[in-house]
Symmetry: D2
Subunit: 113 residues, 4 copies
Amino acid sequence: MGELLAMIREFNEARDWGKFHTPKNLAMALMVEAAELAEHFQWLTGEESCNLSQDKREKVADEIADVLIYLLNLSDRLAIDPVAAARAKIGKNGERYPAEKVAGKALKYSDYE
Amino acid sequence: MGELLAMIREFNEARDWGKFHTPKNLAMALMVEAAELAEHFQWLTGEESCNLSQDKREKVADEIADVLIYLLNLSDRLAIDPVAAARAKIGKNGERYPAEKVAGKALKYSDYE
Amino acid sequence: MGELLAMIREFNEARDWGKFHTPKNLAMALMVEAAELAEHFQWLTGEESCNLSQDKREKVADEIADVLIYLLNLSDRLAIDPVAAARAKIGKNGERYPAEKVAGKALKYSDYE
Amino acid sequence: MGELLAMIREFNEARDWGKFHTPKNLAMALMVEAAELAEHFQWLTGEESCNLSQDKREKVADEIADVLIYLLNLSDRLAIDPVAAARAKIGKNGERYPAEKVAGKALKYSDYE
C-alpha cells in the first residue's frame, strides 16, 4: 500500500494534476468509478455475479483498481490513513451489529442497516 | 492490508452474512458508501473541501473506511488482488495519459478523460 | 411537471439556495440521492424488490421524489427540457438496440449495453 | 410525462426486457446513469459548470434523459407516481427547512442537511 501510494503521488506530480484534485473532486471521481464498477453487475443475477467470465473479471479488476487509486488519492489529500480508519470502523461495527443478535438473520440485517 | 482482510472475513463469518455478499450486492453497497462519502463534500467549494473541521474529517474517515471495507470484501469474493490491480492500472494509465502531453493542461485532462 | 418545477423554483428562492446550486453541485447531489434510493434495494433479491412492504414503499417513494426534484432543478439550471431529451433519447436507443436483434436475449442485452 | 411513460413501456415490451427490470436492477441502473451525468462535471469548477460548451450540453442532456427514463421505469414497476411523490416531498421539506431559518445561510444549509 505504501509503495502504491508513492506510485500514485509520482503519477499525479508528473502530470501536474494536483490542482484538479481537491477532496471534493476526488470524492466525486471515486463515486463515478464505483458506479463504473457496479455497472458490470447491474443486469446479472446474484448467482451470475459469482461466476464472471475471464474477460469480465479483468474489466472488473480494472475498475476495482480505479476505486482504490482514487480512495488512496483522496485519503492522502486529507491525511487520513484508510487502513487505520477501516480497523477502527470494524471495531465500531462490531458493537453496532453484535454477532449473537444478527447472525444469519436476513431481517435483522436490514433492521440494523 | 492482509490483516485488515482477515478482520473483515472474521467479522462476516461471525454474522453469517456471506449469503448477502454476492459480488453484485457488494458492488452496489460499495457505490452507496462512495455516495455517502461524497455527500460530505457536495455543498462545499473546492477550497472548503481542503479545510475540513475536525468533526467533519472524522466522519469522512468513517466513510473512507466503509468504502475500503467493501472494496476488500468484493475483491476477496472475486479473488482479485486490489493492490496488484492498481499497480497494473497505473502502468496502463501512464501510457494512456503521457506526462509530456497532459502535464499542467486542464483542457488536455478532459480531452483524455 | 411544469407546476412541479414552479414549486421547486419557489422553494429554492425562498431559501436563497441558488448560490449552492451550481450544475456541478446539483449533479453531485442527484447522484447521492440516487444512491439513497438504491440503498433500499441493496440486500434484497430481485424478487424481494418486487414485493416491498408498505413502509419500505413509502421510503422509496420519498427517494424517487428527491431524485426527480434534483433532476428538474439541474435541468432548469441548464435550460434543458428533460422530457424532450428523454423522447429524443428513446429514438436514439431504438436505433442502437433494434428490437428484432435484442428481443428476449439476455446475452444480447449485455453485448449491446 | 404520460406520453413519455407510454413510449418507455412500448420500448421495453418490444425488446422483452421486463425480465431484467426488477426494481433492484432498475435502481442500480439509475444510480449508474446518475454517475455518468455527474462525470461530465467532475473536473469542472462550479463556475465552469454554469458555462458548458454546446457539445457538452448535448451530452449532459443525453444523460439527463437516461436518468429520467430509468426513474419513470422504476416508478412504473413500483406503481409510484413520481410527480405526486415530489409534490409531497416538497411539502415535507418546507417543514424541515423553514425558509426564515435557513434563508441565505450556508452554514445552516449543512446543519440542516
